[in-house]
Amino acid sequence: MEVLEYDVVVVGSGLAGLRAAVAAALRGAAVAVVTKVAGPRSHSISAEGGMAAVVHPNKTGDSYELHAYDTVKGGDFLVDQEAAITLAYEAPKEVHFLDSIGVPWNKDPDGTFSLRQFGGMSKPRTVFAKDKTGFYIMSAIYKHVKGFSNIHLYEEHLVTRLVVKGGAFHGVVAYDMRRGELRGFAAPAGVVATGGGGRMYRLTTMGFLNTGEMYGYAMRAGLALRDMEFVQWHPTALVPAGVLISEAARAEGAYLVNRHGERFMKRYAPERMELAPRDVVSRAIYLECLKGNGFVHESGLCYVGLDIRHLDPERVKQRLPLLLELSKTYAGVNPLNELIPVRPAVHYFMGGIMTDIEGRALDRDGNWVRGLWAAGEAASTGVHGANRLGSNSLAECAVWGRLAGEAAAAYARGRRPAGELVAEAVKAEEERINGLLRREGGGESVRGLLKELQNLMEGGGGIVRSERASVEALKKLTDLRGRLNNVRISDGGRIYNMELREVLELEGMLLAAETVLLGALLRQESRGAHYRVDFQNRDDRRWLVHSVYFLYGGNVMTKQRPVNVTRWMPEARRY
């Protein structure tokens, strides 16, 4: 058994994780990045449209406060407003940092950043690298990270447990897929940056690795989750694959049309039309389908058309090359003369591990679990509230990745890793996993259970929710939790045992799914991405509160916390 000692252990290797690693390493910390992904393949790489940051306030008459306000309004006032201020002030620095490590941002002829306007943003303030922004960021920062001698990457290591004892973080236990062994990582400070959990759903723009098990593991370790009921559906996922078609298309002027050729957004968001926030547009598409105004795909999926035929083809080739490629490969259409078939798919989790504004991970009472931070989609800093605006997530990952990394390095200085505590945890995990591998009997397959989970999530935690549907989904989920104990792993080997990984993932996913459904059931109002047919209005008197989830005696419990309203009072949200 092996326990490695570091100053800072970062879990996850997307933008947030790698940014944290760089920030900590620059402060002299010895950093381990422990990630279930191989190489630069985290899902940040699939981010397309861009990164919001007020880089040239004078060029467009923009300001940090306006960016923060748009974020607060976009999040339907469930945003912790000081977090939005932090995002707005810090994001431009991160764009410059990424520029200095080699991200090829699109530039205007005068050498300044090109900008595009995203949904819910009142100015063009999204910087971008064509429509492959995440790809260029990830390939630059991954190589940058590899240049540090004090950052060690442990790839294809699935973290199965956070070691938390006495209110403090001590390390993690991970399953090393390539060697087929468990490894412990002991460190006084940790940053969790494991991304989202789109694969709980059937239709998602997220990759196969975005399973969201860490949400569940975090609760097991005594951390709290917040606002998990707010799940973003991106309006334009390609039909039938669910691959993302960037919001950049609409930012460049694309229309959404129904089967009558009507730009239906005029009935839902007359001012901002296609550039309303994502929750508004996704709901509009859903309703068009419900009214029979959508197209029907051979797979049975209802969809609408994304129309770019009126745009200058040269500009499209320059600025949206990935859109052209994806439409051709995965839907067989040429967007220059055909409609692109799109429909909503799960894209982002506004909720996550509850943190304060500095990214410190909190328990259910709001106390910091000493030594632990969370950043990126895995975290809920409160910045997105009930709905995230497009292009705010790359900014979020970079900003809180850096803040967490810096703070973690400072905290670790002068502190020693508790190797024995982690060694004990490795031993306990070893027994648990051996038990899973040796389990006999039981006829459930992990992929069968996963399919059932994905279907029930769409029913109870979808774009439109109701008490009845959520209750039904929760019942089915309880049944699944019981059946998880009957899963049999047919792969007897330990090296690259994908079934073992999938079982471990599913354990965490089921816990996370329960928080989503519980929130969907309990929140009797409609706000941002959470829409209830039986409570169609926002109710600030009762529900201007965060939902907090935690484990108590093995069961998911929930409570409420106030929203930090410091600058802008809630107002009607019109677009």
């Binding site: 200095s100 390939s139 590899k146 090296i495 690259y496 994908m498």
Partner: protein
């Protein structure tokens, strides 16, 4: 529905064997990855495959399909025009299990060419000064920056197959991309690494790398551009 037979070259750490699976493809538009995932779901969960984004950008699912190194998610049934598909792990790589190979040696080679902006560290971390880059400066390296490090070029390269120390197309392309970036000042440092027998000069111009690149990066061409810059003793390629 169409019946397809997939023959997969498997490896469990001890032995290698070929295994056939018969799957029903719901349409001609599905990818080889879709079919492999279907096999895992319906028939054999022990089959090891690396995949994530399924949109040809994360670079996980490189493998040899019907004798050509390709991304499984980007290879559609309709273009294979075959009812019989063979799938093997990428050539020139150590196999970990089934279709999962060890790409670490490739990444180590990329690391050797210092694939990042080289200039005064203070300029990177301590100022907000914009380095600035004009569209025409961007065009010099943009296409070469689209390498997703999937390893297919390394799998296809005949020199990599026989010359273990050869840096190979993936690393050399990175050497070009970073040196051609107007923000970079590291060309002199990199020349020392790639102006060597295991650097650009081992390339035989087979161009198989460019032929299999799923992103149209053309590493074969970047290697020639590097050679040209060295011979001309240019300040940057």
């Amino acid at each position: 529905m169409k019946s397809v037979v997939i023959k997969v070259k498997r490896y469990d750490g001890k032995k290698t064997w070929w295994q056939e699976y018969k799957v029903e493809a719901p349409s001609e538009k599905v990818s080889v990855l879709d079919l492999l995932v279907k096999v895992k779901e319906e028939q054999d969960p022990t089959l090891a495959v690396r995949y994530s984004c399924r949109m040809a950008i994360c670079g996980s699912c490189g493998m040899v399909i019907n004798g050509v190194p390709r991304l499984a998610c980007q290879t559609l049934l309709s273009e294979l025009k075959a009812e019989f598909i063979t799938v093997e792990p990428m050539w020139n790589h150590k196999v970990i299990k089934d279709l999962v190979v060890d790409l670490e040696p490739d990444f180590e080679k990329v690391k050797k060419v210092k694939p990042y902006i080289i200039r005064d560290i203070k300029e990177i971390y301590e100022t907000d000064k914009e380095f600035g880059q004009k569209p025409e400066e961007l065009d010099k390296y943009y296409n070469f920056a689209y390498c997703i490090q999937c390893g297919l070029c390394m799998s296809a390269c005949p020199v990599v197959a026989t010359h273990e120390r050869f840096l190979g197309p993936m690393a050399l392309n990175a050497g070009y991309r970073w040196s051609a970036d107007s923000r970079d000042q590291g060309w002199k440092e990199r020349v020392k690494i790639i102006d060597a027998e295991e650097g650009v000069w081992a390339c035989h111009l087979a161009y198989t790398c460019s032929a299999v690149c799923p992103r149209g990066v053309d590493p074969g061409f970047s290697i020639q551009l590097l050679k040209a810059a060295m011979l001309r003793k240019a300040k940057r390629p």
